[in-house]
Amino acid sequence: MQIYLPIAEVAVNALVLIGLGGIVGLMSGLFGVGGGFLITPLLFFIGIPPAIAVATGANQVVASSFSGVLAHVKRKTVDFRMGWVLLAGGLVGSSAGVLLFNMLSRLGQVDLVVQLCYVVFLGLIGAMMLQESLRALHRARRSGPIKPMRRHQHGWVHKWPWKMKFRASGLYISSIPVLLVGAAVGVLGAIMGVGGGFIMVPAMIYLLGMPTKVVIGTSLFQITFLSAYTTLMHAVSSNTVDVMLAVLLIVGGVTGAQIGTHLGARLRAEQLRILLALLVLGVCGKLALDLFLRPDELYSITPGILR
């Protein structure tokens, strides 16, 4: 079933798009990630122009993360105060990221920077997750006593001024590192066309010391608003959001996410994390190879004249 996308100006198979959304939704349901890092490269692969893939990907992230936030609000696992502060940083970061993106695309190096960002971040996160989950699996197998982890470690980030009380997280910390984390995720999100959950979650746990139970909900809360803002910016500044494409991806995505959540409940958490780590490392490896191996085609065409 071919369908013509009004903004992308290409005809693609609607079932392929729904399937693609479904696979990514399955991932997000299984692993609790937004899936932006998968959808954007996959859209490139089926021939959607990169600028449209990035902007429409952000629109799809709004749907999947909003669906997730609702579930977390019900379970009261969202730290709204933390979310708003993260979002304030995120909006600044996202605006700066879009400016940086435009500057890089004038220089013709945007593809390179995006690819390098993907390789570095996916590589780091994937390796960390793999190591951590292998250790957890090992520990579970030995079934020895689990060492209680000491929370409330007072690191250097806790000595900064502008302290705020985050009741849901049980934290009383400076708002500066929170704003910085939000801003960093905003910049990366705008450049890489992803929600940034896979960067935010570890940063919240390891840098801010937030309890794991509120991390996912709070990150989804911030991502919903941030990607809504990014979508709107892309729509207004470059007209690159294709709503037809977004609807097809969303239909597949929300269905996949529900199936993924069901499946996820049946599988073991450590095994799931190892699978996700391998997937992240796989995507990273593929992108790294593209950078280092001689491409088949050395020339590329971009629309418009850049002066």
């Binding site: 009004p6 903004i7 749907a63 669906s67 709503v243 529900q258 491409p295 065409i301 418009g304 004249i305």
Partner: protein, 265 residues
Amino acid sequence: MIRHALFAVLAPVLLALPANAQPAIPEQPPEQIVAGLSRDDVDITTSFDGSEIIIYGAIKRETRIPAGEPLDVIVTLEGPAQALTVRHKERRLGIWVNTGRVSIGSAPSFYVVATTRPLHLILPAAEDQRHRISIPLAMRAFAGPMEVEDAVPYTEALIRLRRAADVYRQDDGAVRLAEETLFRADVRLPANLVEGVYSTRIFLLRQGRIIDTFRAPIEVRKVGLERWLYRLALEQPFIYGIMSLAIAVAAGWGASAAFRLVKRP
């Protein structure tokens, strides 16, 4: 009476015509194109999956078919022009990076040349230059300062990439000509069409000379939902953006509500 008077006035003019007309009025070619298109507009609907246009016609002539070199027909179909930039990658510090670039002010988004016989056999370079028929000549101006010494590899790459994407085509022998009188070319339009006015040209050639040309426009436009969304995105981008977000939020909420319903029993 009146008729007689009229004749008296016109007679010298009419009689003088065959002798005088030749240099005065541009010479009527001995063989002329009478052509038609199977359609003069293409509507892009939601289910648009490419289209086919039949460009057909006949050769009108007062005399008998001249002997000697056979007649040839070239048909071109050209999409709206676009400005674009071609980039080249080189290895720097172990990774592949864009280095050089060439800006092209105007290149057709779609271009097909269909002929009766191989193009290089029937079309001399001078006529090609004049009418810009072959694919390399269909690209017009270079724009902006040249940053590279040699732009040729860039334009060659552009043609190679566009040919690979099937938007530039040279179909030698795709025009069927019967009895040196009736011709027909079937041009396939791809699914990734750009909106705008496409132009069809037909050239009639004999002995390496273009003896007649014919032009007709084809309008390609989005209709219905496609058109509405496209216009909204361009003219009211803020409202369009809000609409896209509303759809996303509604879908997200709908999914979680549906999930709750399924889970409850």
